[in-house]
């Protein structure tokens, strides 16, 4: 089962990387970009027996640092679900 985990910085946490990308887009003359936030996509291939709760634990214990990051878990055939 392929699970996709999106890790993003929390609102209000400065994202220097997003800022640099924003700046680069502007310098390429792309207008109308209001803001850029960069995050990570982590793909897991897990056995069907792995529960949603276990994937949550993986995120909390390692994949995201919940001091500064939020994560969303996308299970197959479902839209991303907000978790924190």
């Amino acid at each position: 089962m392929k699970v996709r985990i999106f890790v993003t910085l929390k609102d209000g946490v400065l994202d220097p990387q997003g800022k640099a990308i924003h700046h680069a887009l502007e310098s390429l003359d792309f207008a109308g970009v209001n803001d850029v936030r960069a995050g990570k996509l982590i793909e897991l291939d897990v056995a069907p027996s792995v529960s949603r709760e276990e994937i949550d634990k993986m995120c909390d214990k390692l994949l995201a640092n919940t001091v500064i990051e939020n994560y969303e878990i996308e299970l197959p055939e479902t839209a991303p679900e907000k978790t924190s």
Binding site: V13, L14, P16, Q17, K19, A20, K61, L62, L63, N65, V67, I68
Partner: protein, 218 residues
Amino acid sequence: MQSAVIVFPGSNCDRDMAVALETVSGQKPHMVWHGDSELPSGLDIIAIPGGFSYGDYLRSGAMASRSNIIRPVIEAAGRGVRILGVCNGFQILTETGLLPGALMRNSNIHFVCKDAELEVTSTASIFTSGYASNAAISIPVAHHDGNFFADGDTLDQLENEDRVVFRYRNDINGSSRNIAGIVNEAGNVLGMMPHPERAIDKKHGGTDGLALFESLLR
């Protein structure tokens, strides 16, 4: 004073840290591999050195903070063993939860490598008792992820409890309230981005880091 330096794949300040500890204490530290699951007995000090453990994969310090040796390090911290985390060591200590907050990418995105001007903002800690109050010191920094972040309540608590021990005199990386080093609630765990172990010998440009090791080994 029995000390140990934890060595991770990608540590690169482990030898400098060992030299600093030996220079001041006269005793060779144990070098402990991250894969070990036990620490040598009778340790007074554990140093977590700088470097780029696991290539900074996932987040700086994230993989190292889940390695075998960390469980006994956390237990030792609970027993009051003194723990010094420098640079990547600071990042690892926040990732383990022994210290609050997180170290993020420098706000100006540049890797900063220079002598940083610091203020010793607390001399109440066992790590800084050898400095004069509000001393201005110069200690090298070399990091990409040194931008200390914590929420406002945590920052207020750190300040109210006198746990901010070093501050940058100028903003060099975007750190909240210019924080360069903090201690835990019990006061036996210090994390700092600047490298005191690189400032113990005149031939290397300065000795402002010496007082930290002298305080620690007292």
